[in-house]
Amino acid sequence: MTSVHSASPRSRRPGLSGWSGRTIVTVMVAVFVLFFAIPLVWLLLATTKTARGLTVGNPFSFGSLGDLATNWDQLFAFQDGAVTSWIGNSAVYAIGALVITLVASIPAGYALALTEFRFRRLLLVLTLIVMLIPNTALVLPIFLELNAVGLIGSPMSVILPMSFFPFGVYLTYIYFSTSIPRDLLAAARIDGCREFQVFTKIALPLAAPIVALVAFFSFVQNWNNFFLPFVMLPSSDGYPVQVGLTSLLASTPAFNPSSAGAQSVQLPTLALATVVSVLPVLIVFLVSQRFLVAGMTAGGTKE
């Protein structure tokens, strides 16, 4: 999982001694593996079944590809393809906010770490404080603020608040203040680089891992955000897929008996919707896990 960890000599690790101790630990780990893995595995299998097969059959059997295709068709036929537009919305919101986040936070982290200006400490402290404020805590006031300027319902009402990402600034700040040798920047200046060139030519290329890390966290958080779009967007057309899921849930008779009707959604279709709604994040997780942990511990190992 990590290149960093492999450097550690194994001898430092305390072994687990004693037969009974080992058994207890093994059982505990096994229980937690089941706890973490069963829901995921089951969810993937559920998408391949019929509604009947889901409740009657073995929970860990594979249904059929045909049923998967049927569920797929049903999901994307829901409200004339609403799911497709929700996914499109999610992509626009998540990527739009991600771009603004990067443009705003990478230079800010650099300036905080490596240059001197008035209010530097103030900005640093402010960043630490707002980092501790939960995202959802400010959603209602932000709603009122955006309402006052008439932005409610527009994509910007979601993108702009999401692109405020103090944690990204903090990460960048830590990275620049610990991992970039100042001598390198000084040398560049002596060679006649202007401040802006020092940033774009020297610092930015070195910061590629942290840019990727900030992008990853920003994307995942934006994609999974529920409360903000739930409050800001009044109409289903503008929903991201996470909020759209609630429309699907409301049309599932199994959870909402009053909804039986032409547009009703069966459980396997709902399961498929859950998988589809997180697929981009799941893929990003799998692709980047190696580099992620290396990036996360980078601040700790380079001195």
């Binding site: 829901p39 530097r120 805590a137 997780f285």
Partner: protein, 309 residues
């Protein structure tokens, strides 16, 4: 929120390079570099906080209301139940998180078979991709005995229907299970990284002195993890006070067996969008914010999070 929180402690508490005074250069450039971020901070951090403050102390017409909004929401018959729900959930969730994450991290770290340790971390970590509404939806399935993959277990525990599983008394545990499933893996990976950073000599010295694995974990690893545990506590606490999507979806899926004012954040939402009382909503938001920050302060001071070493 969950995923994001996870990385900071790596860098957070102990860095000391910032001590070196930055080069006194490029002042004008610096302002350019920070300008967009400052704008966003003002617009979506400082201004909304101030706005909430103003709203909480004014009435619908904008006149000064003193503490009227606060006495109104605190006197609301839904307020104290919501406080109790959130508090109970926070206690159970934080205790479970701290104990099991620390334990699992130490155990996974002690496993010497590399592929096994790596696979375990991946298994614990992957559910983190399902945050927000998706994870709640998944757990609706798992907790519904008619569809659940573990319906045998649910029946054995005496639950025959979905409504029984999500009886109000069970909810703090239900939400803890959902939150733990989604969020614990990332923290386990973080703690694992922290354990790797403990110097080999210290552990070796302890072993030479005859310490066994449990003694090493208790006497050396645990104290060294203290800051990380407090960091995890702060982030999870702050996020936990804002409980919203879980009870909201559960309320929807259970035909209001779970009330739609179960948590404080839901109550604030009700105030704002059902009663059109934004002043009351702001008062609740502010109370939530103050509680979250105050509880965080306890963790910061007791956990030595911002001590330099």
């Amino acid at each position: 929120m969950t995923v994001v929180d996870e990385t900071a402690p790596v860098a957070a508490p102990t860095r000391r390079a910032a001590r070196k005074p930055p080069a006194p250069r490029g002042s004008a450039m610096s302002y350019g570099f920070i300008s967009l971020y400052v704008l966003l901070t003002l617009a979506f951090g400082v201004l909304p906080a101030l706005y909430a403050l103003v709203l909480a102390f004014t009435d619908g017409e904008g006149g000064f209301a003193g503490l009227a909004n606060f006495t109104k929401v605190v006197g609301d018959f839904r307020f104290w139940p919501a406080v109790t729900h959130v508090a109970l959930y926070l206690v159970i969730w934080l205790v479970a998180l701290v104990i099991f994450v620390t334990l699992l991290a130490i155990v996974v770290h002690a496993i010497r078979i590399r592929w096994l340790s790596r696979t375990l971390r991946l298994v614990f970590y992957l559910p983190g991709a399902l945050a927000g509404a998706s994870s709640v939806l998944l757990w609706l399935f798992v907790l519904d005995p008619t569809a659940s993959p573990v319906s045998g277990l649910l029946t054995a525990l005496g639950f025959d229907s979905f409504v029984q599983v999500i009886a109000p008394g069970n909810l703090p545990v239900v939400f803890t299970v959902v939150a733990f499933w989604t969020g614990a893996g990332g923290w386990i990976v973080i703690m694992y990284g922290a354990l790797n950073n403990i110097s080999a000599e210290v552990i070796e010295a302890a072993r030479v002195d005859g310490a066994n694995a449990v003694q090493i974990a208790w006497g050396i690893q645990l104290p060294m993890l203290r800051k990380w545990i407090s960091y995890m506590g702060i982030m999870s606490l702050a996020a936990g006070t804002q409980l919203f999507v879980e009870p909201q979806l559960l309320s929807q899926a259970s035909n209001a067996v779970v009330p739609n004012d179960y948590s404080l954040n839901q109550l604030a939402y009700q105030y704002a969008f059902q009663q059109n009382d934004f002043n009351g909503a702001a008062a609740i938001s502010l109370l939530l914010l103050v509680i979250a920050l105050a509880l965080s302060a306890v963790f910061v001071t007791r956990g030595g999070l911002f001590e330099r070493d």
